[in-house]
């Protein structure tokens, strides 16, 4: 058996429930590789999720895990982190979970800069419930709730997190899996809120309706579409059409929430 699977997954729960070719398994693989690279203490990691296909990941991951309610993973994770400031807290969330129903929790977790690493499994659709559009569905894409094409403009989750005050934000894709692993590894080392947006294919609820071909075709699309942010910024405007930036959008140090909270505790104890 794959050594990471042996060490970090609940083998009795496999094979997992995801559809053939679903990108979510590739992301879960990169998360456990990143954890292994850093030699983190397995018994001091808590993985928290909301609801969705993506949010099923912690069920397979052999750490302390919590499967919560739709959109609320960050609220639960905030509580866990405040009660256990030394614990490594990782949130796993879908694009719908993180940016629709949980969008408010997301921006405020970023603003507080609480030391949590969030991995957004972004397949630009509500996979689990059959393909309703999410806040990241591209304009004109088809969804069960947009049979003539979505007229909404999508959120850019990595940029949203950066603007909302997160210390670290980055994006990669399951095609660029080695790069994704490195970004997750980097995010896990940040003292503050870190987010990695991982673009993932949902052949069942998105690919089929949007005639995206096979899952391998969808991976080839990621290869074509996503380019490093520095290369993107050097492109003349007309060449940027159809391209999307990936890489690190932000990596800065700000006061971290649990540390600031501890300062208050220490100060009040000192006053007595």
């Amino acid at each position: 058996m794959n050594k990471y699977v042996k060490k970090y997954l609940r083998n009795d729960k496999l094979a997992h429930m995801w559809c053939p070719g679903c990108g979510h398994g590739i992301i879960m693989h990169q998360i456990i590789k990143a954890i292994d690279n850093l030699g983190l203490d397995k018994d001091n990691i808590c993985v928290v999720s909301g609801i969705g296909c993506s949010s099923r990941a912690p069920g397979y991951m052999d750490f302390d895990t919590l499967h919560t309610t739709h959109g609320r993973a960050l609220a639960f994770a905030t509580g866990i982190k405040l009660a256990n400031p030394d614990m490594k807290v990782i949130v796993v969330s879908g694009d719908g979970d993180a940016s629709a129903i949980g969008g408010n929790h997301l921006i405020h977790a970023c603003r507080r800069n609480i030391d949590i690493t969030t991995i957004v499994f972004n397949n630009t659709i509500y996979g689990m419930t059959g393909g309703q559009f999410s806040p990241t569905t591209a304009t004109n894409d088809l969804a069960s709730t947009a049979p003539y094409g979505s007229i909404d403009r999508p959120f850019d989750i990595a940029k949203l997190a950066a603007a909302a005050g997160a210390s670290y934000s980055a994006r990669s894709t399951v095609y660029h899996a080695n790069n994704l692993e490195k970004l997750i590894e980097e995010a896990l080392q940040v003292k503050g809120f870190s987010l990695v947006e991982a673009m993932s294919m949902c052949p069942t609820s998105y690919g089929r309706r949007n005639k995206k071909g096979t899952v391998s075709d969808m991976l080839e699309d990621y290869k074509e579409t996503y380019i490093n942010i520095n290369a993107f910024n050097k492109l003349p405007l007309e060449k940027r059409e159809g391209k999307i930036e990936m890489g690190v959008f932000k990596n800065e140090t700000y006061p971290e929430y649990t540390a600031e909270y501890q300062k208050i505790i220490d100060r009040l104890k000192g006053d007595k």
Partner: protein, 72 residues
């Protein structure tokens, strides 16, 4: 550990036949059988690059090394 010592392995019971590993293998080593399960059709051509393992969503193909023997 050098790449030559790695052994390419499959776990067909976890394979869902998505074809990603077949598509991205640079040496055309892999095939799906009539049950849509992974088979190592041309093992001698494998260069042990690990691209199949990297993007298999189901952990159903991987390179195994001696280093794993003593792990639980």
């Amino acid at each position: 550990m050098s790449r030559e010592n790695l052994v390419l392995k499959v776990k067909p019971e976890w394979c869902k036949g998505c074809g990603i590993c077949v598509h991205f293998c640079p040496k055309n080593v892999l095939e799906l059988d009539e049950d849509n399960k992974i088979v190592i059709a041309r093992p001698d051509d494998c260069i042990k690059c690990g691209l199949c393992e990297l993007r298999c969503p189901d952990f159903a193909i991987y390179l195994e090394g001696d280093e794993n023997e003593d792990e639980k």
